[in-house]
Amino acid sequence: MDDPTGWRANIGVVCGAANIVVEPEFHAMSPPGVATCATRMASLDVERGTGTPDAEELTRCTRYLVDANLDVIVLATPAGCAGTPATWAAAHMSASGARYPITAAAAVVDALRALRVRNVLVLGTGRRDAIERESRALADTGITVAAIALLELPAGAAAAATYRAVRAAASRPAAAVYIASSAVETIMALDALEQDLAVPVLSTVQACFWAAARAAGIEDTLAGFGSLLARESAQ
């Protein structure tokens, strides 16, 4: 009798109302015994790169997941889309009872540091001002943003489309590429992109899962989703 539930860890995820990427990508990366428990913020339209996670909505989502006694809760929204400092969201989630609140912005910074990357090309979807906010948030942490570019991809774009768009946009030299979007599929393209670009390639959803799994004590070898998840297990 196989038990597919989260008998090792349950990861709570808050995503945008229209998002169709975060939950299946978290599920795809989850090793046995790790499950995702999700909910959505009505006020956040990540797909268009607009909206702000207002306090009331973030409180409601966080409290609902806190009541479920999960191992960790992550706000899987790029900082640029949220339009608010990561510290604001993390503080608000803590005040709502989350023991281990994780924001995408913090997860990405931790992931870049884990990979010893200090210079990154930021590629986003949605609006350019959202990508610029994302880049400023990274720069505030001491990471150099080599350049930013907009990926012309619709919400929910498949990993193959993301791969082609990133290849086309990643012509400038940088020590790593960060795909700042939770609105398009990325994780199935990361290995191929790292091979072809010869630099680490991270994405919002991948970094969020990595940070959440680590916070929940899960450090399995996870092949197929980029060097971040594979590398961590080798340490």
């Binding site: 009798m1 169709i20 990427v21 999700a38 959505r40 498949a158």
Partner: protein, 242 residues
């Protein structure tokens, strides 16, 4: 690297906030290309008054509205007692409420799905197995009797929280369902989407020699049907081979 991930169907889920079971169990049963997308609603306690309070508010409709902003093919209302609470016809009432709020995206409820699943498998004499207290178990029994089933047994574990239910292992559930099912039953319904079940269904059907339906299994089966996905799946009972 095919894609997008939900290339075959995207199924929404409205689920009580403390539930830990339905998302991973649905993914376990999902054919390739089917994804699940959840919105949670607040349930204080698994009691008659707790479920009444949840369903008296408009939060379920709000969940449906939020989910409808995603390109979904069907929506599951993952609550058994919340869709049998008011007796015969309540499952349909909840379904219509949510479908209207979701701008017409097809909706199924757990109790409505269970009725369809039991009928498809020809069950007439039902063993009703639940984690509920006595009052909710009695309401569940009455709902299935009103819908034409002879309920030969109805038992509950007296649990009031998802945390208690999550402590019930598949082995515990298998023992419980076997003990609770009398020989004259020709089908079992394991109620509540907060209880692990799908990993035990095949074993229970072998043990008992009769069809076994669970809340999570039936709801997802019906949602796949609504989304036009007809993929037989092995390992999750007769229903998925039907």
């Amino acid at each position: 690297m095919n894609g997008p991930l939900g290339w075959r169907a995207r199924i929404g889920l409205i689920y009580p906030n403390c539930g830990l079971v339905m998302e991973p169990e649905c993914y376990a049963m999902a054919p390739a290309g089917v994804t699940i997308h959840t919105q949670r609603l607040h349930l204080t306690k698994m009691t008659v008054s707790g479920v009444e309070q949840m369903m008296a508010s408009t939060e379920a409709e709000r969940c449906a509205r939020i989910l409808s902003r995603a390109p979904l093919d069907a929506i599951m209302f993952g609550g058994t007692s919340a869709s049998f609470l008011k007796g015969i016809g309540y499952d349909d009432e909840v379904r219509l409420r949510l479908q209207a709020a979701a701008n017409g995206i097809p909706v199924t409820t757990t109790s409505g799905a269970a009725l369809r699943a039991l009928r498809v498998l020809g069950v007439t004499r039902l063993s009703f197995v639940s984690p509920y207290d006595e009052a909710l178990t009695a309401i569940g029994r009455r709902f299935f009797e009103q819908n034409g089933f002879a309920v030969v047994s109805a038992v509950g574990l007296g649990m009031h929280t998802d945390a208690e239910m999550f402590g019930v292992s598949l082995a515990d559930l298998r023992d419980y369902a076997k003990r609770a099912t009398p020989p004259d039953a020709n089908g079992v319904f394991i109620a509540c989407t907060g209880l692990r079940s799908v990993g035990a269904i095949d074993a229970l059907e072998r043990d008992l020699g009769i069809p076994v339906i669970s809340a999570v299994q039936a709801t997802f089966w019906d949602a796949l049907r609504l989304a036009g996905v007809r993929a037989p799946q092995r390992g999750f009972g007769h229903l998925y081979r039907h």
